[in-house]
Assembly symmetry: D2
Homo-oligomer: 328 residues x 4
């Protein structure tokens, strides 16, 4: 065990995700379990620079496991991109006698953590908290499962009105670079078509497919569109195009937006967050640094930051086939 570590700081950074509170709670309680002190940093790296720290013990985090958002708040920090900012942050950690840092967030967070950790030879471990599931080396990121459930519940509601009115709905979900949310929620919600950044369907093929479904007897349809998809990027324009060319339907657009980031985390995300928090403290005590704690095939694993950040997740071809078959 790393005897040097007596006090751990924990922060959340980047876009918030359901389950971040559960992850903070886990880091705090795992610290208490190992009789370490724990301190929370508000507003991610920016709060570290500005010295916004709060002492946290096992009781401080009660009734947080089920709360959406992050009570430590999150922010993106421009100051942390500059050495001057990072030096202030380091000074604040030292002033507060912090020996190690757990950073909960996505690839931006891990990039910042890597630079910071190497610059000051400071132990840093990351926990993947983002709804986008776009981190390499972990099967799931905290918040992703909850976001999927939020999306399908919303689309289930939209389907009620779609099928009452023989309408075609374009539903935009999050995913600037990754189609995971669109693809999984599209299958889960029984979407007719799913448009993702990784594949450019083209408007002609989309139209052909919609016409075919209409002929096969479908009277209403849901199209799930990832915000980063080529033809779906301008979703209003796409809707107009379809409406013009497919007059049998009344075409409507719904952009789900920020409801996807909130809500009480699913059981899966709460358990995942609890496991990764414990794993993060274990790793620090074991002398590890510059790694992310993830989950692979149901086991907690340690992944170098470089791998977590740089690798590119590929879209699952099997899922695309399943989506195609389901919308027959």
């Amino acid at each position: 065990m790393n005897k040097e570590i007596k006090k751990i700081a924990v922060l959340t950074s980047g876009g918030d995700a359901p389950g971040m509170n559960a992850a903070i709670r886990s880091v705090v309680r795992a610290s208490a379990y190992h009789q370490l002190e724990c301190v929370g940093v508000y507003r991610g790296f920016q709060g570290m620079i500005e010295g916004e720290f709060v002492d946290l013990d096992a009781r401080s985090v009660k009734n947080t496991v089920n709360r959406g958002g992050t009570f430590l708040k999150s922010a993106r920090s421009k100051d942390f991109m500059h050495k001057e900012g990072r030096e202030k942050a380091y000074a604040n950690l030292k002033k507060n006698n912090v020996d190690a840092l757990v950073a909960i967030g996505g690839d931006g967070t891990f990039t910042g953590a890597t630079i910071f950790g190497k610059e000051f030879n400071f132990p840093v471990v990351g926990i993947p908290g983002t709804i986008d599931n776009d981190i390499n080396g972990t099967d799931f990121t905290i918040g992703y499962d909850t976001a999927l459930n939020t999306v399908i519940e919303a689309i289930d509601k939209i389907r009620d009105t779609a099928s009452s009115h023989d309408r075609l709905f374009l539903v935009e979900v999050m995913g600037r670079d990754a189609g995971d949310i669109a693809l999984n929620s599209g299958i889960g919600a029984g979407a007719e078509e799913i448009l993702i950044p990784e594949e450019d369907m083209g408007t002609d093929r989309l139209l052909e497919s919609l016409k075919r479904s209409r002929k096969s007897g479908k009277t209403s349809s849901i199209i799930v569109v990832a915000e980063g998809d080529q033809i779906g990027k301008n979703i209003g324009q796409l809707a107009d195009f379809i409406q013009t060319n497919l007059t049998e339907y009344e075409v409507k657009v719904t952009v789900l937006g920020h409801i996807q980031r909130g809500g009480s985390p699913s059981c899966y995300d709460r358990v995942l967050a609890s496991r990764l928090g414990v794993g993060a403290v274990d790793a620090l005590l074991d002398g590890k640094s510059h790694i992310m704690i993830g989950v692979q095939h149901k086991k907690v694993v340690q992944v170098p930051f470089e791998f977590a950040i740089n690798g590119e997740k590929e879209i699952d071809k099997e899922l695309i086939r399943v989506a195609d078959i389901m919308s027959i």
Copy 2:
């Protein structure tokens, strides 16, 4: 009892609302209870014109009380605005031996029903089914309570991310002419400000108020905007205006859209729908026509169509005061 009535038709028309299925089910079962035949009409008045009828008995409507949307589907019918269309509709009713009609919908539905009923001296009773709660003579319309719960659940999620990031969110809810959904969901969701069509706040007053709240220590805010509000009509423009003038916040927009029309109805809406369906069949058997069945002070009442349509509901000043006090 009106011995003439042996067969009742039921339809849903206009915008769909959660609880419409429960209302159809109630009309069907109340008909069965009184040993009347019942027939459903697809797609509202349009289906009546096109002769889309389906026989419904007590078992046909099982497992529908909890379903969103309307399994009879709904539509707006231009043909029904012309005498020719209505004559076809009347002929179809006669051909199917229908003696009376129950029309579930909003003011457009009741307007059509009034004209049709008078034109052919045909018994018609209405049931208020619309999320807008904008019908005179009934305390609540079917679907309104469910829509309010859908809105606050969505805003609860948005608040998670708003308070994690110190953001100001503009959330657009339904309500082209009526601010009921905005006002009630705004209070329920703890909104900072609520913008409704009935009151023009003006951008200056809004800005003053937001600045005051910020000073009072609020770090994130939700503004609920009815789609018909004067300054909120162009919600993107309003967001830009606020962002320009209130740089402390990051301003974001979410348009809830059609999720507000769907979902499994609340208990209140299911019970209301069940009561009004029974009341509609009772009224027809009692020889009544050209009335809407509503609820006032927990009692089922009968209201002339003219009153239901023409009266204008006023916004509740007490609620506006409560909203002001809650956002102190």
Copy 3:
């Protein structure tokens, strides 16, 4: 305005109900609005005796409107039944310069509040917070609407498994003396039979009815049982009786229990709580005391404690008829 009142205490007492936090929040913010001080009392009357007070300002109650339970906690107090206990409570109010009390709870709470208020000539106003909806003089109590939704969501789930297996389910819901929850949730959930304390159906009639339904083609059934119903009191025994006499079904029992008391309040309960809290502070400032703030026909009203407690609510015959017709 009552210039004497400068500081208000607020407490929750008796069984907890969703929306109690929203009611506390409203009393606190209405106090702030009128520039009064506000103090919370933990654990109801018991905390008043033991001097557990906490200062509350407008910011103390942020993010509470959507929380179930009561952050001031609740308890039943035996000590408050004795003069000695009440004298201690009064002394603590004086010591804390409290000029008036708002008590949120049910009839037990109002009974205690009446005695206390008269004994010490101390201004007390009540707010009805109980899931049972068994208070006279108000159309709804805070928490009732939420409890109904919790019950129907649970029964919707049970119906999935009931209809998958051709089972008959007895579902016990709260209601020792009042059948309101059973009757409304039974209609909302599409129950076959609803057993309530106000009516003794008798096992023979129940059995006859179930046999009739089975013959009419129903393959699964839900019976909603209020815990205080005559034949449903011993629900295991009732299940055995039905199983013995109706072997076509597999009979199962589910007791919903305490999940009915929890959960995020519905929009209706949040708005009701907000309105009643404002009404309570208004009433105190207006020199009123020994009254409950309720809602009748959508208006906030003031009701003497005596009326609220002693009156007996009757079960709505129309609802019983609707329930009968719906289960045809």
Copy 4:
């Protein structure tokens, strides 16, 4: 490809689970995709014996992906345990020109399917549908994820009232032989203690632990109890024991029961069901039989029935440690 297979039958058997409808739908649509006919069998093996078949095409299964339960219904069949019953079943399959069977269920289902398949040399593929997650060779069974979410949502509600009243709640969840639901939902719901069949804690150790927590400042507690746990089997007795020995708390019991089997499936379960249904049809066309389609490390896999049934899943020691640390 197995050219022999032109018609596939699908059935659900054993305890129902959320997502079974999504699995049926997937088998039906995958059949349609491969231009095979598909027929549903009602009530599992019993319906196969009694010849209850229904033709299913791609449109028959619309709007089923989000429905709880199983529209094909499920049952346990004693007749299928006898050769005579199975011979009738086989004759019915032949009469309906069925070439292969997909059986959705748990270990009982697979045991029956194995015997049947070998007896008549009939192609059978299984899909794991059970909330218990007690099948070997698949990381998850369909329905398990949904059940976990149902449990934590219920416990979240119970916690509201537990913490309002300083109570200790024993919450019984499903799991006669396997503690997976208890362990995961216990961590997810922030339980103080989790009692599972795989570990016998003993009442003394439980009591010690509860006393320690009380001293550490906890004022309310949730204990999650799997129905098959040694000391939790008689949950009423356990509650009495704790109440007698730990008088500071008020001890309450809630048995969640059959709500755990119902409800709209989670996104994970819908996607899993969709993938496994496609995998089952693929396997049959590929000439495979006597296997279960499962998921391992995010990939669809084929597992011999023998392995799926006989293997014993071990409880995850890491999860037990996480649970211990979280309840510090």
